[in-house]
Symmetry: C2
Subunit: 629 residues, 2 copies
């Protein structure tokens, strides 16, 4: 009976040489194991998130050339793999050569042409161009090709027929999005199903986001059941990025039988060659769906993402500025696990505003981790900067008049933050032979509660796609499950979040950040993660209807607790909306890359322009009504 | 005879209220002037570059509501304008509500339906999704709609018939890209032309880039001539951005007569209501095409772009760190012209490595401009930082062993750069009540020849889309044409470019940057601005063929001058390619927004991933051959 190997491999974006070497090794392994067919992910040769590298002809030719090596290695086995396909005789809309996101089927050194296709490969039909995806920028779709050929996609969508052990198999081959098709004009899965393939193959390059795998199992399981044939989903592992946003690819390649049950799942974030015997697939017991908590998935994504990112940029040592607060503590615990405490330098940088409490908690954290530790006070440097700025004469050369700058306490707050990061941490990291981290969470990132070139800086913002409540959940998870002991001191979990940049932020007096996380985490989430993004008009309508907490998904009673009057509610809403659409965008433009775990991470998934805040006419009317009451 | 008013207006992205107020005012003015038809740009109500603001339903409804105001204002006049159109009953591919980039024609308070359309508006057919454009992410096209309706675009593409002074006019209405159509499957202009409209209207939201207007006059002139009817191109002015890249919209709205001659051009970057009498249009003399030098256009784009950007972010005062080099000097001369010398603070920040020469030139520049001036030495602070890093004990808490960091001279170079920007300039800017600039040029930006949180920082990188030779050209242009006197001292133009961060960069000994601008400007340009982006393989093939200078467009003889052997050439090529694909991307991710003047500015126009350098198989073969010779 047919044996199918699912080649869940790490795809290294932009490095066809390494990917091809891996594919060739896995083909050899699949042959050894007696596989008849081996399947590799979408874009397994070039990688998927490459920016405009697709505009380099020499790169495209290189991918074609490595593709030939893979085809040549298909003696005695059928190899299904993703690669870029180029039609050098035609043009894309941008005037450059036409490219297809393609699936190749090779056997005995030759390509097998899909039944009704004019090309020797299957072409991706549906081109995602939402969220972080940009397929239409680079690739020509089967739909467009069909139109050009004067036919329809369903005429071209056809199985690939392979002969194995004397028997013909009709394989329904799809690429990633083609298996979903929710909101498109057509559903390739359904169209292809009309040809009654013996089984489906979906090769994917699908980044991890929280909850994605549950949804995929529902959709793909139902499809397999409906068609009454098995479906093999083969996804890549690895780390790919589009500059601003970094994605982990979790693999989780899955085989579904004709009943739609999951019969095999490759482990997350591990290369894996799973062999499925088609004779046994209907007898296989359904694989238990994971009952793991979300935070376990998030931790695994963060661990893998940070580890691979460090390897990619050849960074072995890391410096973290620790304040005694939760974000830097969680970052420290995470990095210590990844690079080892000997390669982690924690630096506490007190000024006159830092309490003995947080200094002590910092020290305790460092002790718990057993890492490198330094205390670098910043007061002398901050005083020197303020002194220099205030006492250096400023001459107006039009009339040679002299004046002096005045440094306000607010300006001094930011001087402290920049002194810590751009002076101490950047210098210490360079001397230590590594980089320093940005520990911002998603709530701070939303409203730019940070200082540019201060705590907003670093080589990577690993926690910037986590809301504050997720950062706390991660602290508990690491203490309980990862370390099995209290690494992040309970005192750090319990203390009020505070920047400690002035006496107004004295933690010992219970003073801290202006962000009330139990409410604002959820308010801010509605700005960016909600399906139809919420804007002040929506939120004010909910306020008028008394459904704010319900719509935001936060605990009930918070609106009444924090905002006694409509005027308070509106002032708070406008304060943060103005920041979200204003200074926070300026800061995000210059922020470090963010590791994505949610749907809608900042950066390339949520595109934004520095256009300033806006309030609709309806909002202004509602506001006037509410304030009049 | 028909009188047509071309409403070249500033479109403020994301602010339908302000845009509608402007449109209403211009409608009133057009009526007063006796116009029969008044035309406004594409997306005149919402603006065009809005990021994912398109996903806010309340914003879409607001645009619809303001659109109603414009329709209501069309009593006694025909108003053509661009706005978003929403079909609330249908979905886009991303599952959100379906949106069209639409052209509305209103008369006497009612919309006029295009002859063959099921909607009351014209829908954009061609969706640019190359370079900085992302239309397919947000808007549903006429092509897709035609497919859904079971028809073809040419059935739907039809004139809008309006009745003016008792006579019917059939207007061929197009949106922006629809007038080009070079590489698309269909050409809306040609299809629409078959209906023999009385004249064409093209409403646009077309950002300025060098050379664009010349090309447009060729294309649109030829189209008008071919169709034998006039064409009115109405473009917006203003400043729009997608976060990383900022675009000026130059307007340059143009009327072409039936002979394809330019008969009227609105001034660049100015609001303008030009009235064209259709009775006179064929008798009009062709307007002389501009013979201005490129640098004049660039200066105008920079001046307008910086001015509007400062206004948008409410910044009135600016601090510039000046080194005595050309980039900061040109930036200073530019900003002084825009905000006035009294609002410009130049800061010279010498360390022990700065020569008397550059200190003197800095002073001279400041005197020439008559601005505010400060000298803030950084040596004491740099020494303090190095001392603190080297003498603070670092404890390894696993065994309580103590060690010390060592600060190398290279690390000290970057400490200087960060001390200048993140400590002095950021502090001085905050105290002065403004921001500080990033003065990087495009060559430095290409290879990351800069320090992150040092000279790479600032609120805007106004010169980062200019190659070094363009920066010099701008210096001459400003001295000669803008100021009419030597504002940028000749000494600054003549001195060797140098960062002066170590004794190895001593300008008095003629030492300076490792970038040889007369060659590297053009090498780097080929990486990003060339149509099919050049990569090492292409460049090595040119080297083997002896055609490097010809392909790069630089002066002949430079390759032989700089690189005696193939090994030298290859080492240089790989050095910069490794940086371009490596550390420079990390720096660009955190760089300030860039003002675009070229086709292919860094940021959103040139998308990139942090994937590290790659060399194709063919490159490695060629390299081996060349090194063997």
């Amino acid at each position: 009976m047919l044996k199918i190997a699912m080649g869940q491999m790490e795809v290294i974006p932009g490095h066809p040489d390494q990917n091809t070497a891996k594919i060739l090794a896995m083909i050899a392994e699949a042959k050894e194991q007696g596989a008849d067919i081996v399947i590799f992910p979408e874009m397994a040769v070039p990688g998927y998130l490459l920016g405009d590298t697709w505009e380099q002809s020499s790169f495209l030719k290189d991918c074609e050339s490595y593709g030939q090596d893979i085809i040549a290695a298909s003696a005695g086995i059928t190899v299904i793999f993703g690669n870029i396909a180029v039609d050098w005789s035609k043009k894309n809309n941008d005037g450059r050569v036409r490219k297809y996101n393609a699936l190749f089927t090779a056997q005995d050194g030759k390509l097998i042409q899909p039944d009704n296709m004019p090309y020797q490969y299957v072409i991706k039909t549906l081109m995602p161009n939402y969220r972080e995806f940009d397929d239409t920028r680079h690739f020509f779709s089967l739909q467009k090709l069909a139109r050009e050929l004067g036919t329809t996609p369903d005429q071209l969508l056809s199985p690939v027929t392979v002969k194995v052990k004397g028997q013909h198999y009709r394989i329904g081959c799809l690429l990633c999005e083609d298996g979903w098709g929710d909101n498109y004009e057509l559903e390739p899965f359904t169209l292809l199903g009309r040809h009654k393939p013996d089984f489906f193959v979906n090769i994917s390059a699908s980044p991890y986001t929280l909850g994605k795998n549950d949804k995929r199992n529902r959709v793909f399981g139902a499809q397999a059941q409906q068609a009454g044939v098995p479906l093999f989903y083969v996804n890549a592992i690895g780390l790919q990025n589009n500059g601003k946003t970094i994605y982990t690819f979790d693999g989780s390649s899955t085989a579904y039988n004709a009943q739609g049950h999951v019969v095999a799942v490759a482990p997350e974030y591990q290369e894996n060659l799973a062999l499925i015997d088609m004779g046994q697939i209907d007898k296989s017991k359904p694989v238990d769906k994971s009952t793991e908590k979300d935070i376990a998935h998030i931790y695994r994504a963060l661990h893998y993402g940070v580890k691979r990112f460090l390897e990619n940029i050849h960074m072995k040592k890391v410096v973290i500025g620790i304040s005694g607060g939760i974000d830097s503590a969680v970052a420290a615990a995470l990095y210590a696990k990844i690079i080892g405490p000997e390669n982690l330098l924690l630096v506490n940088m007190p000024s006159v505003f830092n309490s003995a409490t947080t200094k002590g908690l910092s020290q305790q954290l460092a002790h718990n981790l057993g890492c490198q530790y330094m205390i670098v006070p910043i007061q002398q440097s901050v005083d020197h900067t303020v002194d220099q700025l205030e006492h250096t004469p400023m001459t107006y050369l039009a009339d040679d008049s002299i004046s002096n700058l005045t440094v306000s306490s607010f300006v001094t707050e930011n001087i402290q933050a920049r002194d810590r990061s751009a002076r101490v941490l950047a210098g210490a990291a360079a001397a230590f032979g590594g980089g320093f981290t940005c520990n911002a969470n998603k709530a701070e990132t939303t409203v730019g509660y940070s200082t540019l070139y201060g705590d907003q800086s670093g080589f990577l913002a690993a926690l910037a796609d986590l809301w504050k409540h997720q950062v706390y959940a991660l602290a508990y998870y690491m203490n309980e499950e990862v370390y099995g002991r209290e690494v992040v001191p309970q005192g750090i979990i319990d203390i009020v979040p505070s920047a400690e940049l002035s006496s107004a932020q004295n933690v010992d007096e219970g003073k801290g950040d202006p962000i009330k996380y139990p409410y604002h985490d959820y308010l801010f989430r509605s700005f960016i993660e909600r399906w139809e993004k919420a804007a002040p008009q929506d939120i004010l309508e909910w306020y008028a209807a008394g459904t704010v907490e319900e719509n935001l998904g936060c605990a009930p009673g918070l609106v009444a607790k924090y905002f006694p009057t409509a005027a308070d509610f509106i002032a708070d809403l406008e304060r943060w909306w103005n920041l979200f659409c204003g200074m926070a965008i300026a800061k995000r433009i210059q922020a470090p890359p963010i590791l994505a775990v949610s749907r809608r991470a900042y950066g390339f998934d949520h595109r934004e322009a520095q256009n300033g805040p806006y309030y609709t006419r309806r909002y202004r009317e509602l506001k006037a009504q509410l304030l009049e009451r």
